[in-house]
Symmetry: C2
Subunit: 200 residues, 2 copies
């Protein structure tokens, strides 16, 4: 009888271990930050449309250079990975390993019942910004290209290609290197947490 009891205990211990690992595994925070290849090339997030939306602009002047002066203005949508969003809402600062996706969308006017307003149409391109201590100054910028030919993985912008990003994201951003002045719900949090740069 003791050997039966011993075997039964052994089986129970294994099942208990499995159940505990399932319970713990499913309660751990999802790893939703940047995914890299070759240490710094960013894998394009494919599920960013399920991430928290920070704000939308129309015709803001980080408009892509290929927009002609008479072309309709472009919508820009910004999304951030969920765990970093929750981090910002608690602290007013961005945790390490935060990914921002900047999506460019054509603006349209041609669908009833709309008369004079603008709504969002086809994707035109995707860019990203990442905060990660692996980069010399803590940040990197990526361009996945135009919608017709998006790349799945891309190296961080460097040299003259990134200089204007860094300049604008340093000089004109309300919190760290991010345009929190354009993200109304975050702006309130940054005010409360006193993390806005002087002048905002």
């Amino acid at each position: 009888m003791r050997s039966v009891a011993t075997r039964f205990i052994a089986v129970l211990l294994v099942m208990f271990g499995i159940a505990v690992s399932l319970a713990v595994g499913s309660q751990q925070p999802e790893r939703d930050g940047p995914r890299y290849q070759d240490s710094t090339s960013l894998v394009r997030p494919t599920n960013y449309r399920e991430w928290p939306f920070l704000g939308s602009g129309l015709g803001l002047n980080y408009e892509p250079a290929n927009t002609g002066a008479d072309a309709p203005p472009t919508f820009t949508n910004v999304f951030v990975n969920p765990s970093s969003y929750r981090g910002f809402m608690q602290t007013g600062t961005w945790p390490n390993e935060t990914v921002f996706v900047l999506e460019f969308r054509r603006s349209r006017t041609d669908a009833a019942p709309n008369v004079a307003g603008r709504f969002q149409g086809d994707l035109r391109g995707i860019e990203a910004e990442v905060k990660d201590a692996r980069f010399p100054d803590g940040w990197a910028f990526y361009n996945f290209g135009a919608a017709e030919a998006l790349t799945d993985v891309t190296a961080p912008l460097s040299g003259t290609a990134v200089a204007s990003c860094v300049e604008c994201h340093t000089t004109h951003t309300a919190v760290e290197r991010t345009f929190v002045q354009f993200y109304p719900t975050l702006l309130e949090v940054a005010r409360q947490k006193r993390t806005l740069k002087p002048g905002f």
Copy 2:
């Protein structure tokens, strides 16, 4: 010895039960649909900014009536509860118990480095639309009021207050009673699933 083994087995069984219930509980889909008081009054969702964003418009003509002709155009953002979003992406139709939140935000131009574009500012008001078999025609519309005085719970609009909602959401919507023509990622899915109404 047998009684020690029996007690040990009993303790293991209880711990196993707790571990299993934790594992199962944390893997069940989150209940993120409409919450009611008195059966049909909707509790305003407070975490909708973490829900999937469907699209943004500027100056669309479901603009609130209190906007003067010379006032700046209003941004409208639409969000949907996560489980219904996933349901639509799989089927091109809305599951029962779907909540759409329509958020009105002031448009602004006055923050560097912006020159001529518009970005989103303060909240102006919140409305909602719900698909739920508990309503006679399957849908209900809610207005939580202006941002300065949002109500936490509100009864569905009725009579003349809802007539224009129903008329427009019946005549001009691309999928069921929703403006999928304004939500670019859903529009693609509805095309693939052939759930667009004739004419779209």
